[in-house]
């Protein structure tokens, strides 16, 4: 393109200068003369928001170099040759600028020309903004709180109170003991306290008792269940793929359990992150570290786009979206950076160039979401154990088969077995290679009349027969040949199989389905022959004379047209059975051949019926068995052995069956990463420069480049994990302590918990945030230590009532924390609280999630929700099997987010449909009924006692006299369940002070 423009310029140049307004005859000042012209006329389309034609005119670097078609648009020193001047002067009829609004005046063009002719000087830092001069990118500094000297004062309170005092505000008094107790329970474990737990704390709410309660709750296994929910929101965890075909991820839960366990164990946060990003690379033999990488796979995955579609364009797009999701999740969760904004162009607000976005993509380029074994060594052990048991069972089966004269199943032998059921159903022998073949095969054209030996005791080999060859068709390794068979088309289809051929029209002959249990089926498509070696069979069966029995049938479709096939059997190359023109009307062919002691080989052959066409020539042998022709009578000892033998075989079968399936987890599979290229304007079909793995250069002091493309997948992710958790990374610790603050107070010190960039909020208490971040590092990245620090502060223990008119007017949003924020229970806590109060909460921890839906297998599976009214559906909400595209509507009504999105902060809405759900949903009504049963059981028949107990369970307090009167009246008129139902709907139940 540059070439074209240059040509245009050369040709037109002489005329051009004459057509242009003359340059201004004075020294121009960029800031005074030029920038205002750009700002008024150009930047709407070529500024921070839009870059039409890929051109951006508000920054020196891009203004002087950029543009899709005419770059550079500005040629310093040569205004008459600068495309920008041509465009604004209207010389190029296809590119008049500005494209909307008034054209520039001659004077303005003159100024631009003069500026360009004077070298287009563009002072650095024109806007005075150094993008790196941003609080979150600077190292965090540990500032001592102003009067930290005061003994026993939580430094958090000092920071908070200094800022309150600055506005003439004071903190609120401490909340009462009941409120504090309830607040701590919901906040730390997500469940309400029992009335007895409240009473105990109200009796002794000393500092020591408060600290003891905090320690008790942090040590409770429920702590992990509560706080894992917050982390899973950030990971947009769900138990299905999402997208059009929303299939199940039956083993995703192991990652959910890992988070719960890691939090309960207070795994240091840096290690918590490292394992989730690169656990499999750091400790491949540690199942827990492998499971941790479920984090990277937690988001949606487009099965159709990534796998099902044949279109490479769609596949590349789906994969680009997939990587984007992973990169976005990791960087926003750990660092609060919105790197995804740099996918199509440099980040508009933060100093993140597009190439660094793709450097991060390169970190994950070797990672794919998928099911994997949790423990490879364990899988091998299990496999060895299974093989050992199968061998033992096989030997016993041979023994039994001989005693009962079952004989040997030729289909099983074709499937790689010993003739007694150890073969693999569906497996077969490749006609061309003689090797084991599992998957389906298309049309084959191996050289005809070449006998291919097959490994294994009972099969001699296979051949594609063609009677055209006068020399005959070889049918054994000993050189036997058969002659007199018809000429064939010389083609074969699929393998000789232990089971139906792919695709087989029918597996039935008459009424018998030979694919059903208790039968066997040997599929032999024309043109092919297989020769069995009888010598080892005689040894196995301990009999000289043998007998071959089978039912032969046609397996093609019912209307194959003219096509048909021939069936031939040979004993040592001599024809023993022939049936020509076999088709759907042939019916049943019974084969019963005696194989004399002298015979060595039995050959089964299918040919194409001399029509040269193999279409639908599907011949199969039902229950093909070779057994002893005259079994020796059993001795008494042998007879006595039969039953124990059977029992032992059955035992072994049970043992094999009960071997646990190796544990799987939906996590990641890895490969050597392909080369990643910057995608121009985010378009996967427009790849440009290579992007080597790396991170963000705006975080100074840490190497942003990890190395070249030779780095392995493991090296890349370990490098990123180290970069993120490096003590010098100023983002990671700030982000997590802010998240903790957000969940404890309802709003973070930075109110955009996953965006610490220039588009996000600024910290309300920057020094406190830094102090917390440093304290966190000093305390070994212990989350529990930070919880303890925060919830023991006076700031946290304040009342939540908004009764201070002055404070309301100065800081109505409570950013300065002059009171505690009251909190609406989130969807999960509300559901858990209902179950807890009704007495039905099922405390079972861990394992596959509960499924409160009926599942129907379809192209796009159908998830139909049911009323969760069984104990196994009354587990804590963290164990809910989360369906991505069919959200649980009751939970959604309570603001449970869609797991398509990363959710750093829940929306809290108050809607009509939400109130209706709490009032009328079947689950709520049933639980209100159980709540009433519980109250009755615990308080007897007295209506007042019932009212008191119901209040105690729901609110952790006694009703006052008026409340008790109203409650009693309601119970007397309409029954206890109606009272319980209404209590579960009160603001007092749904809000935590």
């Amino acid at each position: 393109m540059r070439l074209i423009i240059a040509t245009f310029l050369t040709l037109a140049l002489s005329g051009v200068a004459a057509e242009l307004p003359p340059p201004a005859a004075r020294a121009v000042d960029f800031l005074k003369d030029i920038e205002p012209i750009f700002a008024r006329n150009c930047l709407k389309c070529h500024g921070a928001d839009k870059q039409k034609g890929g051109y951006r005119l508000d920054r020196k670097a891009t203004a002087l170099t950029g543009g899709d078609n005419s770059a550079p648009n500005i040629v310093p020193g040569k205004s008459a040759e600068s495309p920008l001047i041509h465009f604004v002067a209207g010389l190029d009829p296809d590119m008049k600028m500005p494209s909307k609004g008034d054209p520039l005046t001659a004077e303005q063009i003159g100024l631009l020309r003069a500026w360009i002719d004077q070298g287009a000087p563009w002072p650095e830092n024109v806007t005075g903004n150094d993008p790196l001069d941003w609080w979150s990118l600077k190292p965090s500094a540990r500032t001592a709180p102003a009067n930290a000297a005061t003994d026993g004062v939580n430094p958090i309170d000092t920071f908070i109170q200094v800022q309150l005092a600055g506005k003439g505000l004071a903190p609120s008094p401490e909340a009462d003991a009941r409120t504090l107790c309830r607040r701590l329970y919901f906040d730390l474990i997500g469940l309400p306290p029992t009335p007895e737990e409240v009473d105990a704390f109200v009796k002794d709410s000393s500092r020591a008792a408060y600290k003891a309660l905090v320690d008790k709750l942090l040590a409770s296994p429920h702590y992990g269940e509560r706080w894992a929910r917050h982390w899973l929101d950030i990971a947009h965890y769900a138990d299905t793929h999402g997208f059009e075909r929303d299939q199940r991820r039956d083993n995703a839960w192991r990652f959910r359990d890992w988070v719960i366990r890691a939090l309960n164990a207070d795994k240091p946060y840096n290690e918590f992150l490292r394992e989730q990003i690169a656990g499999d690379a750091l400790r491949p033999a540690d199942p827990e570290a492998v499971i941790a990488t479920g984090f990277l796979a937690a988001g949606p995955w487009d099965f159709v786009g990534q796998s099902e579609t044949p279109s490479p364009v769609l596949k590349r797009l789906a994969r680009a979206d997939d990587l984007d999701d992973m990169v976005t999740q990791v960087m926003s969760a750990a660092c609060g950076m919105t790197v995804n904004c740099a996918r199509c162009h440099d980040h508009k607000l933060d100093p993140i160039p597009q190439r660094e976005y793709f450097a991060l993509c390169a970190v994950f380029a070797g990672v794919k979401r998928g099911e994997r074994d949790v423990d490879a060594a364990e899988v091998r052990r299990r496999l060895d154990e299974k093989t050992r048991l199968q061998r033992e069972m096989g030997a016993l089966q041979v023994q039994l088969a001989r005693m009962e004269n079952h004989g040997l199943d030729l289909a099983d032998i074709v499937g790689g077995g010993d003739g007694n059921g150890s073969g693999i159903k569906g497996a077969g022998v490749h006609v061309e290679t003689g090797k084991r073949q599992d998957g389906a095969l298309p049309r084959l054209t191996p050289k005809a009349n070449v006998f291919v030996p097959v490994d294994g005791d009972f099969i001699d080999g296979v051949v594609l027969p063609n009677g055209e060859d006068a020399a005959g068709v070889p049918i054994s390794t000993t050189g036997l040949k058969v002659r007199g068979i018809p000429k064939t088309g010389g083609e074969a289809w699929d393998a000789v199989r232990n089971g139906p051929i792919n695709p087989q029209g029918t597996t039935k002959i008459g009424d018998v389905d030979f694919a059903a249990a208790g039968h066997s089926l040997l599929g032999l498509h024309a043109n092919a022959a297989i020769t069995f070696d009888l010598a080892p069979m005689r040894t196995a069966l301990k009999s000289g004379t043998l007998r071959f029995r089978a039912t032969v049938g046609y397996g093609g479709r019912p209307d194959p047209g003219e096509t048909n096939a021939d069936v031939r059997l040979f004993i040592d190359g001599e024809p023993a059975f022939v049936a020509e023109r076999v088709g759907p009307k042939t019916g049943r062919l019974l084969v019963n051949l005696v194989l004399p002691e002298s015979a060595r080989f039995l050959t089964l052959m299918s040919t194409d019926g001399a029509d040269g066409q193999i279409g639908f020539d599907q011949i199969f042998y039902g229950d093909p068995r070779i057994s002893a022709a005259a079994p020796a009578p059993l001795t008494a000892a042998e007879k006595a052995d039969i039953e124990p033998l059977k029992k032992r075989i059955e035992e072994l079968g049970q043992q094999i069956k009960s071997l646990p399936e190796p544990a799987k987890v939906y996590a990641i599979t890895t490969e050597q990463p392909p080369v990643v290229r910057v995608q121009h304007r985010g378009n996967p079909e427009d790849p440009r420069a290579e992007a080597a793995p790396g991170a963000l250069s705006c975080v100074r002091g840490l190497g942003a480049q990890f190395g070249g493309n030779e780095l392995t997948d493991a090296q890349r992710r370990i490098a990123l994990a180290e970069w993120i958790t490096a003590p010098a990374n100023p983002l990671t610790r700030r982000v997590i302590v802010n998240r903790l603050w957000h969940h404890h107070f309802g709003a973070g010190l930075v109110d955009t918990p996953s965006d610490f960039g220039t588009g996000g909020g600024r910290p309300s208490h920057p020094e406190l945030l830094d102090w917390l971040a440093e304290e966190f590092g000093a305390r070994g990245w212990s989350l529990k230590a930070m919880h303890r620090l925060i919830v023991t502060s006076a700031t946290y223990r304040q009342r939540s009532e908004a009764r201070e008119a002055k404070a309301e007017s100065i800081d109505g949003g409570n950013r300065l924390l002059w009171r505690m924020n009251p909190r609406r229970l989130d969807a999960e806590s509300l559901r858990d609280a209902v179950l807890s109060v009704s007495g039905k909460l099922n405390g079972e921890m861990f394992g596959p999630g509960y499924r409160d839906f009926d599942y129907t297998e379809e192209y796009a599976p159908v998830y139909k929700y049911i009323t969760p009214d069984r104990p196994e559906l009354w587990r804590r909400s963290i164990y809910r099997f989360v369906v991505r595209t069919t959200p649980q509507q009751f939970m959604t009504a309570l603001d449970c987010p869609n797991s398509a999105n990363l959710t750093p902060a829940r929306n809290i809405t108050t809607t009509t449909l939400q109130s209706l759900a709490l009032l009328n949903n079947d689950f709520m009504q049933k639980q209100a009924g159980y709540f009433a049963q519980r109250v009755e059981a615990e308080s007897g028949g007295d209506v007042k006692a019932q009212g008191a107990r119901a209040f105690a369970l729901a609110f952790g307090r006694k009703p006052d006299a008026a409340e008790l009167d109203s409650a009693s009246a309601l119970v007397k008129s309409h029954g206890l369940p109606q009272l319980c139902r209404m209590l579960l709907n009160t603001n007092e139940f749904v809000y935590v002070d």
Binding site: P822, T892, N898, T910, T912, L979, N985
Partner: protein
């Protein structure tokens, strides 16, 4: 059974009695409420004077073939039977392209504008002077799920708010006694991608589409009434008790969030009154029943959805989305939506009659009631279909390269077309456009500037139109 007369009586008692309905005003009179609570769906002023007040969007999932319906291609008739250059078709879904095939229904000119419509739509053809067509629509995906998401939310990935959610976020509701964004899925089931198609994404949950249950014997909205029946007086006394407790609790705390929750129970009671009335079509005249062919076994259910849409819009519902087709649930006798891979005559023939009957009745009805000027009707699909046969079959494959959407009413100029696909209908050629321009235009007609209607999410001021979108001025009256 919400239609049960005793239930109605119960409701009126509830409305007439205290039942929470009158409580807010009573509380406020007694000084027990801190402030007038904020209804998240309260009507908000638009950015500029709107032409349309409401939207009815008819969505035809599966991929409606433009070359058999709205987009007349004489050249395709000439090329009929000629092989397609397979290399051009590498992005199609199933991959194998057969021969070019002309429309299975002849095209004719209609109306004063003389635009060409195929014989599949005789009813809609009579409305052609009211309709504005966009013939150069494209999608970024050839897969149902992502393309559905794109047409509904502007993004091929799930998790973004639907157009209806954006509209209610921008304008609120004109009737706080009904949901602002109502969805009527096909009675056969949900469309591809399921409920995510009308999800609120990251917008507050109040903006998600509320599914209208149209099966007889069911309440119109989930949880509208107690799952287990509760006697009317018990309900009334219970709600009184609840609101008294709430009022005392709120009085001690002075927090507007608590007041809003009190008010939501009042609104809930009002919704219980207004929703059953809104969907009760028993009072509709015989002429109306005939117009919407309610008794027709095939077209009747969709006609009923269209009639309900009109009733909802009449009552101030801001955005109604009707699905004309469901998810692909295996190939039955007739496909459950427009996804006509094997047999276009069979499947488009069936669905064409369904759409034509209901949609033309809707346009007629809206016009006769004087509602068409203030109601924007949009009809679209997630993509079109190919001008050639799929392999050796009698159907057409997906075509994200070109399709047609149309708008009517609500300030739209009738009888016009914008953009064009190439002479065969394979790719958009003149003014190629994505859903962004359609969305920008729809918002514009509602008085909303698509560049200003935004919501902060994880670092970005998100918009329905992402970073794209131009209002298509050629379609404005």
């Amino acid at each position: 059974m919400w239609t049960d007369p005793s239930r109605r009586q119960f409701l009126w008692q509830l409305g007439g009695g205290l039942g929470g309905v009158a409580l807010t005003s009573m509380l406020s009179r007694d000084g027990l409420l801190a402030a007038e609570p904020v209804n998240p769906l309260a009507a908000k002023p638009p950015h500029f004077a709107p032409k349309a007040k409401a939207v009815i969007q008819i969505f035809c999932p599966g991929g409606l073939s433009h070359v058999d319906t709205w987009d007349y291609k004489p050249e395709l008739e000439r090329q009929h039977g000629q092989p397609f250059d397979a290399e051009l078709g590498k992005q199609t879904f199933a991959g194998v392209a057969g021969n070019y095939a002309k429309s299975f229904w002849p095209f004719r000119q209609h109306g004063e504008c003389g635009r060409w419509i195929s014989d599949l739509f005789p009813g809609l053809a009579r409305h052609v002077d009211e309709i504005a067509f966009i013939h150069s629509m494209q999608s970024k995906s050839a897969l149902h799920g992502p393309a559905m998401f794109m047409m509904n939310s502007g993004f091929i990935r799930p998790g973004f708010p639907a157009m209806g959610s954006w509209v209610t976020y921008g304008l609120g509701s004109a009737n706080e006694n009904l949901p602002a964004f109502v969805v009527l899925p096909d009675p056969r089931g949900l469309p591809p991608g399921g409920v995510v198609n009308w999800g609120a994404g990251f917008l507050p949950a109040v903006h998600q589409g509320t599914v209208l249950e149209t099966a007889t014997g069911k309440a119109p909205f989930a949880d509208l009434f107690p799952a287990q029946p509760v006697p009317a007086n018990a309900e009334r006394d219970g709600r009184d008790f609840l609101q008294k407790l709430n009022a005392a609790h709120a009085a001690a705390r002075a927090d507007s969030l608590l007041d809003a929750r009190i008010a939501s129970y009042e609104l809930a009671a009002r919704l219980q009154l207004s929703a059953p009335e809104a969907v009760d079509i028993s009072a509709e005249s015989d002429a109306m029943r005939a117009l919407y062919t309610l008794e027709d076994a095939d077209a009747g259910p969709f006609g009923r959805q269209c009639l309900l849409a009109r009733r909802l819009v009449e009552r101030g519902v801001r955005f109604v989305q009707i699905f004309c087709g469901a998810e692909n649930t295996g190939s039955k006798k007739i496909r459950p939506n427009w996804d006509s891979h094997e047999d276009i005559v069979r499947d488009h023939g069936y669905w064409g009659r369904v759409l034509d009957t209901g949609a033309s009745a809707l346009l007629t009805d809206l016009r006769e009631r004087g509602l068409l000027d203030s109601t924007l009707v949009i009809c679209t699909s997630e993509f079109g279909r190919q001008p050639f046969m799929q392999g050796g079959q009698k159907g057409r494959d997906h075509n994200p390269g070109a399709f047609t959407a149309w708008l009517a009413g609500g300030g739209v100029k009738g009888g016009v077309g914008y953009g064009a696909s190439d002479e065969l209908g394979f790719k958009a050629e003149l003014h190629p456009t994505y859903c962004y321009d359609l969305h920008a235009t729809a918002l514009h007609l509602l008085g909303l500037d698509h560049e200003k209607l935004s919501y902060y999410q994880n670092g970005i001021q998100r918009r329905l139109t992402d970073v794209h979108g131009e209002v298509i001025r050629e379609l404005l009256a």
